[in-house]
């Protein structure tokens, strides 16, 4: 799409400052749009009674796609949490693979339909298997990073968590360990102001979890998570620090949670109409779209085309996943332990 670029004369745009060519920015944009389309579709499926449970990342896409952009998939590690659909797609999970988990199909590469959807994991992409208990993953990430360091491997580990999750002991223990050993770890806090219904001010006494970084002896930054390029810049610094032995970084990206916590929640019970309206204006995709249009990197027509492509991809994923076979009850007892002799 680079033929459509029309950079305004005389000014250096943010993506240029970052040395990004138009394709790179558009690729990220596309990832966000695809994630959003998939995410929206799963809510439709939920309302139709075809997906018993969904939990989504709408509003978090810019932070996730920027974080993914600094990783080398299959080399660096991602230890995500349930909102990270855009992150996982950007790291190589396909739309169909995701839909297989939404429908809990046998082929679902994450868990064979054993886990709830959005409990990500994909071995080939080094997306580590995750669970529901909040914050346990952060400690695994520290362990992976420790192994990388001890084994002398050039690997960086990204882990993500909500701001609520930073209240857990595991988060603290992992941050401290990572700081003591100056591990190649980045902890991205996706701060959407709520932990289900619990607002930020009841969760912590500071504005940003990143304020805790110095208390561990590590670098910390708070960034506007609705601004893809701003997050990208911060993540680049973090990943360079990690690669060069400078130790871990704690990044807090301020994002918006567009949907209720999950399909079992209704956020209108605890957020006012007014608050919801203001919040919904913080759309990272709209924002990037505006930027791209303004920068002349995108036209309305190209955008329509892109949306259609994404929708088609989603349609296909849904259809194919829907048709895939359900798990066999006879497999219930498989993989509790390694198979004998395996």
């Amino acid at each position: 799409m680079s033929e459509e670029v029309k950079a305004p004369a005389g000014t250096r745009m943010a993506h240029e400052e970052l040395g990004l060519d138009p394709d790179a920015v558009l690729t990220m944009y596309r990832r966000m749009v695809l994630a959003r389309a998939l995410d929206r579709r799963m809510w439709v499926l939920n309302r139709q009674g075809r997906a018993p449970f969904v939990i989504s990342g709408q509003g978090h896409e810019a932070a996730q796609v920027a974080a993914a952009a600094v990783l080398r998939p299959g080399v660096d590690w991602a230890v995500p949490y349930y909102r990270d659909l855009a992150l996982c797609l950007a790291l190589g999970m396909t739309a169909r693979e995701f839909m297989l988990s939404v429908f809990a199909r046998a082929e679902d590469p994450t868990s064979g339909g054993r886990q709830m959807p959005s409990h990500f994991g994909l071995a080939r992409a080094r997306i580590v298997t995750t669970s529901s208990p909040v914050a346990t993953q952060v400690v695994h990430a520290a362990g992976i990073a420790y192994a990388a360091k001890v084994r002398g491997l050039d690997e960086v580990v990204l882990t993500t968590i909500g701001e609520g999750g930073t209240s857990k002991g595991d988060w603290h223990e992992a941050m401290n360990f990572a700081a003591v050993h100056r591990l190649p770890l980045i902890c991205l806090v996706e701060d959407n102001d709520y932990a289900i219904s619990v607002p930020h001010r009841l969760q912590m006494g500071v504005d940003s979890a990143a304020e805790r970084a110095s208390g561990y002896g590590m670098a910390g930054t708070t960034v506007d998570g609705g601004d893809l390029l701003a997050v990208l810049k911060v993540m680049r610094t973090a990943v360079e620090r990690a690669r060069s032995g400078g130790g871990p970084t704690l990044v807090c990206a301020k994002v918006a949670r567009f949907t209720s916590h999950s399909s079992d929640d209704d956020q209108r019970r605890y957020r006012s109409q007014e608050e919801l309206e203001t919040m919904l204006r913080r759309d990272p995709i709209e924002r990037l779209r505006g930027y791209l249009l303004e920068a002349g990197l995108l036209t309305e027509e190209a955008d329509d085309r892109l949306l259609q492509e994404c929708t088609a991809e989603v349609d296909e994923a849904v259809q194919s996943a829907q048709e895939a076979p359900a798990p066999d009850p006879a497999d219930l007892e498989r993989h509790v332990y390694a198979a004998e002799g395996a």
Partner: protein, 328 residues
């Protein structure tokens, strides 16, 4: 008496006890404005204010530890753990602290707390929203462990737990919350004593021992086999600790056959203790092996329906075991 759901029984107990005694307070994730993810605490924050119905940070060890501290300073906390699956981070606070405060201080401190948690599966909760955790705590001296299976018991047992001078783990089966309805006494002093089982069905052919949702599955199974002339006595333990040994042994003395049913993983589940008790103290009454029907030994209940169903000890599996036992 009005017919209510089990979760209404829970809510009424909390409401009445908070109204009766201003030391009683509730804490947990989302218990305030939202009223809890299952709405067990709905309306309480409006009524009693945010200090007595506190939305805590996301930290289970903190929830239980703060509950303990508040009890040391004169309050009576009812801590909600959002799902029993997420109680594990609080294991140390429960087992090392709450359970031992009285014993280790030789009686000079005590810890009157209640920890409530929804447990159990069959609600497409997947590996981490379906677990049974009662065996871990029923093993711990110093704790009491209670599981209601009817709305009236939910209310009466919870009220008794709140008034109990020792720490009580109160587990509510998620699937019973709205499925199970029944009459609930309006009486503000409707208390069901901890440590007493209830005989839910009289019978002479065999004794079937269960708790929580499984009580209902056993009753269904008993109905199935009754047509074949097998009369199962169904005992709902209600308290696992203290355990109503007499109720169990009296029944087995009568029936000479025992079946224990639980949803938790078979190996090392609390049903093992019930079996061991019968095998030592009730051995002379027995005419047949002690059978158990329980969840299989897999880490937990899968999310997908076919495997979730395969995991669940349902009425059919239980009825089959009843037939086998009766025919022995």
């Amino acid at each position: 008496m009005a017919v209510k759901t089990l979760i209404e029984g829970v809510r009424e107990a909390l409401d009445e006890e908070m109204a009766r005694d201003e030391r009683v307070w509730v804490l947990g994730e989302d218990v305030g404005r939202k009223g809890g993810v299952f709405l067990a605490t709905e309306g309480l924050q409006e009524k009693y204010g945010p200090s007595r119905v506190l939305d805590t940070p996301l930290a289970e060890s903190c929830i239980v530890g703060v509950a303990i501290g508040s009890a040391l300073n004169g309050m009576i906390p009812v801590a909600e753990i959002q799902f029993a699956d997420f109680i594990h981070p609080a294991f140390d606070q429960i087992v090392s602290e709450a359970a031992r405060i009285r014993y280790r201080s030789n009686g000079s401190f005590s810890c009157p707390i209640v920890v409530r948690a929804p447990f159990g599966g069959g609600v497409h909760g997947g590996l981490y929203h379906s677990q049974s955790v009662e065996a871990f705590y029923a093993h711990v001296p110093g704790l009491k462990v209670v599981i209601p299976s009817t709305p009236a018991d939910a209310k009466g047992l919870l009220k008794a737990a709140i008034r109990d001078p020792d720490p009580v783990m109160f587990f509510e089966h998620k699937k019973t919350y709205r499925l199970v309805r029944g009459e609930v006494p309006e009486d503000g002093d409707h208390l069901v004593p901890l440590g007493r089982a209830a005989i839910r069905r009289q019978g002479t052919s065999l004794t079937c021992i269960a708790w929580g949702l499984m009580t209902h599955h056993c009753l269904e199974a008993a109905d199935q086999v009754a047509a074949e002339g097998i009369e199962a006595e169904v005992i709902d333990l209600r308290s696992l600790r203290p355990l109503d040994r007499d109720a169990i042994l009296d029944s087995v003395r009568k029936t000479a056959r025992a079946l224990i049913v639980y949803e938790d993983n078979l190996t090392g589940g609390f049903g093992a203790e019930v079996a061991a008790l019968i095998a030592s103290d009730g051995f002379e009454y027995l005419d047949a092996p002690i059978l158990r029907v329980a969840g299989p030994d897999v880490p937990a209940m899968p999310f997908n329906k076919p495997q979730e169903d395969a995991f669940m000890p349902g009425p059919d599996k239980i009825a089959a075991a009843m037939r086998k036992l009766a025919a022995y």
